[in-house]
Amino acid sequence: MTEALRLAGVHKSFGKLEVLRGIDLAVEEHEVVCLIGASGSGKSTLLRCVNLLERVDAGRIVVLGDEITASGVDVNRIRRRIGIVFQAFNLFPHMSVLENVTLGPRKALGVPRAQAEEEAAALLERFGLADKRDEYPDRLSGGQQQRAAIVRALAMKPDIMLLDEVTSALDPELVGEVLDVIRDLAAGGMTMVIATHEMGFARETASRVCFLDEGVILEEGPPAQIFSTPREPRTQQFLQRILQARRL
C-alpha cells in the first residue's frame, strides 16, 4: 500500500486560539478516513491546511511523497492534486454548472475547452446532473449544488478528496443523495478524508475513524471499534451526546 497523505506534528493557531495542537495522521491510498468531533475541534482547519488554504505554523504535511509544507513549494500544483468540497458548496454563482466544472481543468490544467466539456459532461451524467449543465447554481436545490461542487472537484482528477461537512448545510431530505455520491466514490477507490457529523454514514463507509478533540486526534480506529467500544472518556461522552440528540 502506498501512503497518500501524512501529517506529522501539525500545529495551527488563529491569533491566540490554538486550533490544531499536534496532529499526526497517515492515510493510505484508497482509504476513507472520517474525522468526527464537536464543532471547533479542528476538523475543518485540518482539511484546509492539507489543501494549503491555511498555512501550518509547525509540522509537516506530505502528499504522495511530496512535502507540501516545504518552503518554496508551488501551491497551485499541489492544490490541483487535492480536491476539496466545502460545507457551503461555494459554487461560482455567475457561471453555469458546466462552466463551474470546466474552469479548473481549462485554466489550471490547460485542457482544451472541447475536451474539458466532454469530460465534464460525462461526470455530470454519472452523478445525475446531465440536465442541469446549463443551469446557474441558484436554480439548483442544495443537494444538486453540492453534487455539482463534488463534480467540480472531481473534474481535476485529484489523487485525494477532502470533504468538509458537505451535508451540514443541507435540508435533511437532501442529505441522502449527496452521501450516495460519496459512497459511490469510496467504492471506486477514491482516497478521501471526510469531516462529518453523519455518524451512521461514517460507521458504514469509513475504513478508519478519527475522533478530534481540542486540536488533537484523541482516538482513532476502525469504525466498529470507535462507535461500539471507544476507549477515551471524551469519545464516549461525544458519542453519547450525539445519541441523545438523535433521540430528541
Binding site: 492544490r79 466545502f86 461555494n90 461560482f92 485554466k107 490544467l109 481535476m156
Partner: protein, 260 residues
C-alpha cells in the same frame, strides 16, 4: 396614481404662479429665458458640447481600466506587495483629496510650460488627463468595495482548484464584483460628465466656455440655460438608468434570498 398626478400638478402650478408674479420676474425672464437668444446660441453650444462628450467618452473608457488596475494592485496579498499596496493607497488618498479644479490648472498650465520635447501642450489633453487621474481614484474605490464584497470562500474555492491568485481574480472575483458595482460606477461617471465643464478653465471652448462667450457678447444669461439643458439631456437618462439598475439588482437579490 391620479392623486400623485394631481398633487404634482398643483405643486408646480403654485411655484409657477409665485415666480411669475414676483416683482423681478420681467427682468429675470428677459435675462435668463430669452427665446431669441436661446435659438441663436443653442447650435453653437450644441456643437461645443461635442467636445465635452469627446472628453468624457475617452476619459470613461480609460478610467474603467486604470481604476480596475489600481483596485487590483491594492488587493494584492502578502507582505511582499506591501510597497505596491502603499503606493495605491497614497494615489487614491492624494487624488481624492485634491480639488479637481486645482489639478486641472496645475497640469493644464504647468506641464506645457515646462516645454518638454515630445510632451503634448494641448489643453484639452491635459484637462482630460487631470479628470482621468481624479476619477481613477474614485472609481478604484468603487471597484475595491466590489472586490471586497465577494465572499472569501469564492476565492478559496477558486484557489482550491489550483487557480493562481490572478486567475481567481480574473475569472471568479472580478466578474462578480463588477456586476455589483455598475450602479455606483455609473454614478461617478455622471459626476465626471459634469466636471468636463472644468476643462473650460484652460481655454478649451467646450459648451460652458462657449456659453460664457455668448453671454459676454449678448449681455444675457440665456446661453447658460442652454448649456445646462445640454448637460441634463445626457445626465438625466443616465441617472434614471442607474436607478433602474439598482432597483433591478435589489429585486434580484431579494429573489435569490427567498430561493436560498
Amino acid at each position: 396614481m391620479a392623486i400623485a398626478l394631481a398633487s404634482t400638478a398643483l405643486f408646480f402650478a403654485v411655484i409657477v404662479v409665485v415666480v411669475v408674479n414676483s416683482a423681478g420676474w420681467p427682468e429675470v425672464k428677459q435675462a435668463f429665458f430669452n427665446g431669441e437668444i436661446f435659438d441663436e446660441s443653442f447650435p453653437e453650444i450644441r456643437s461645443a458640447f461635442l467636445i465635452n462628450v469627446k472628453i468624457f467618452c475617452i476619459a470613461e473608457v480609460v478610467i474603467l481600466f486604470t481604476a480596475l488596475g489600481l483596485a487590483v494592485l491594492r488587493s494584492l496579498p502578502g507582505p511582499v506587495f506591501f510597497p505596491i499596496r502603499l503606493l495605491a493607497i497614497v494615489y487614491a488618498d492624494f487624488f481624492r483629496g485634491i480639488p479637481t479644479i486645482l489639478l486641472i490648472y496645475i497640469l493644464g498650465f504647468g506641464i506645457p510650460a515646462l516645454q518638454l520635447e515630445g510632451v503634448p501642450t494641448d489643453e484639452m489633453f491635459w484637462g482630460t488627463v487631470a479628470l482621468v487621474l481624479v476619477y481613477t481614484a474614485y472609481v478604484s474605490e468603487v471597484y475595491r468595495a466590489g472586490i471586497e464584497s465577494v465572499h472569501p470562500s469564492q476565492n478559496a474555492a477558486a484557489r482550491s482548484l489550483g487557480l493562481s491568485h490572478g486567475q481567481s481574480l480574473r475569472y471568479v472575483v472580478i466578474p462578480q464584483a463588477v456586476r455589483r458595482v455598475i450602479p455606483p460606477l455609473l454614478n461617478d461617471f455622471i459626476g465626471l460628465q459634469k466636471d468636463t465643464a472644468l476643462v473650460a478653465l484652460l481655454g478649451v471652448i467646450e459648451a460652458f466656455r462657449q456659453s460664457q462667450i455668448d453671454v459676454a457678447s449678448t449681455f444675457n444669461y440665456t446661453p447658460y440655460l442652454a448649456t445646462a439643458l445640454m448637460f441634463l439631456i445626457i445626465t438625466v437618462p443616465m441617472t434614471r438608468f442607474t436607478d433602474w439598475l439598482i432597483a433591478r439588482d435589489r429585486k434580484r437579490r431579494q429573489a435569490a434570498g427567498v430561493a436560498a
